[in-house]
Amino acid sequence: MVNKATRPADPFIGQDLWNIQLQNGQLKHFLTIEGLGSDMLTQILDTAESFAGVNESVKKVPLLRGKTIVNLFFEASTRTRTTFELAAKRLSADVLNINISTSATSKGESLLDTLHNLQAMQCDMFIVRHADSGTAHFIANHVAPHISVLNAGDGRHSHPTQAMLDMFTIRRNKGADFGGLRVAIVGDILHSRVARSQIHALNTLNTGDVRVVAPRTLLPKGIEQMGVSVYHDLQEGIKDADVVIMLRLQKERMSGALLPSEQEYFQLYGLTEETFAAAKDDAIVMHPGPINRGVEIASSIADGPHSVILDQVTYGIAVRMAVMSMTLGHNGKREAQA
């Protein structure tokens, strides 16, 4: 039977650049920071602030009781998947964890098949991580209209909940006005979805000075067009910074001829007591984890008084609770109206 109302061909056909994350101005999916205004980001941070208390004392609220949330991970992850799971459970949702190795379903057909199968199990939200940039957008474009999609990292493109927990961490430490802040992001910008999302978030929140620090081999072309100034020297790049964000350096970058050795990288870009002295006295050090001690960061810094790395992990739960409740809460409203 041919249903003329549904169009089996690619829904991208004739599609203009519209922001599928928003429906009637409300957050429906959370795919990327791009396209969300400072008021929306602030709303996420404020909502997360209200959940931070839940985390510390009450532990559980019934907000998403009866909702089913699927952690759909096509790429290995411990921290992100766990904090999403905890966040969902603290909101009283049912959680399903599905880990699919990318090699088993590298073709879109089976990706869509997987989605359709899960959809048939009456899920309400997909939290997706995938090695291909654009996967979260692709899935959001193909799921049933009642499902929300949260991007837990797609290729090198976007990792918006990580960026928001980083903004939350900065706000808790430096206050709500980002205008006077200097933030330096150091390391493998080229392969980093975290850096891209952080840059969007920092600029949307009107951060005074956003910098990236890396050798040319780890910087994507045209990065300055995203609103950053580019530095190749660590001390110059983090000079008088309020926030220093270190990125993880993957071991395979050595074999790809991007860098000569871990030793040389640590010498030039590793954050040590000595190099960190260039930043402001009250600067904080952040890292999305997992950290490589002695590669991008010295243990004395990672475990030192300026480090907020473990706070980031804690805040991650509150931020993810905020985004889940905002996207599904919106669904609830829609259902009530219908």
Partner: protein
Amino acid sequence: MSRMHIKNGRIIDPANQRDEIADLFIDGETIAAIGEAPVGFKAQETIDAKDHWVIPGLVDLCARLREPGQEHKADILSETRAAAHAGITTLCMPPDTDPVIDEPAVVDLIQNKAQAAGFSKIATLGALTAKLKGEHLSEMAALKQAGCVGLSNARHDIQNPLVIRRAYEYAATHHITVFIEANNAQLSNQGCAHEGAVATRLGLPPIPYAAETASIAFHLELIAETGVRAHFCRLSTARSVEMINHAKSRGLKISADVAAHQLHLTEMDISSFNAQCHVLPPLRTQRDMEALRHGLSAGIINSICSDHQPHENDAKLAPFPSTEAGISALESLLPLSLKLVENGQLDLSSAIASITYEPARILGINAGTLSCGAIADICIIDPKQDWTLQADSMQSRGKNTPFAGWHFSGRVSHTIINGRLI
């Protein structure tokens, strides 16, 4: 033998610098006369072409028909029919079929299928190296004898430069043109988008300019040294146009083409992860697109081709990097070429030459003109007809096009192949 009279049409034949309203007479498979009917000519069929353009049938330098090997995407019958419908009377097929076009039997198979289909004619490119593996030379002379109009390694990289040099020497010995898709696979590094601000923002693996330009520079040196006649396929960068221009002024026997989509789309068109705009070489910047248009109007780029790559829907239903590259493009070749004329970026005669006479000359085939005695491959166009391209209405089995919803002026009303109305 059938006789046809096409009357009152505006005959545009760049090869003969003809642009006038006249009658055209076909006798059997060939054009018998233009203007006055031959003595005793009696038409069995008459086409009134008043207010229409009568141009040579289009010759497309690159169309993948998916047969043999990928019949789930398309086949020779479906694609030659779609081509004929779009005014294309000859298609040139690269050798990357399965099996590869590296022996006469495969050429015969393709020609038999094309003849049985009875629509557009197919010209084949033979493999430059056996199985396209870049290790051993193909049997070039045998392929030429079987009817291959040129040799190519398609987009398959040849790692060993010595193999390329020897292949060019051997091709030059037999006066065979080599068709080069300039791409350094290591520099492309499995990328899927132009290296620039858009790919950076979207986090898509990038393909730098140098993947194309370093390869062109390398091939130009070997062409100069071996004296082989060479054609550069699907240029995508401004620098490539400069390099081809410089090499031509040095006196090298080279020509070049551009895919029609490269003249209308840029990297901006992928910015919503639109997989329909996933093509190789990738869409580049506005500046590159303008340089390609200029290269065409200046005659540095000789031809516009479709770079037709039909796909089943599933091939584009995946996250952008995992989708298959290419556009189902036969039916947009003429419209996109005429759009350049409409927009004042190319004069009508050059536009028509670039899809008829020039590609025929590059392939060395008897086509692309309306000379008396030429094979009667003709396309008749209603230039006033406004229409909208719709993917579902395309004749090709591949519905993958980024041009769905585009408005065009001018549409094919009749296609004549070997004197026969299709």
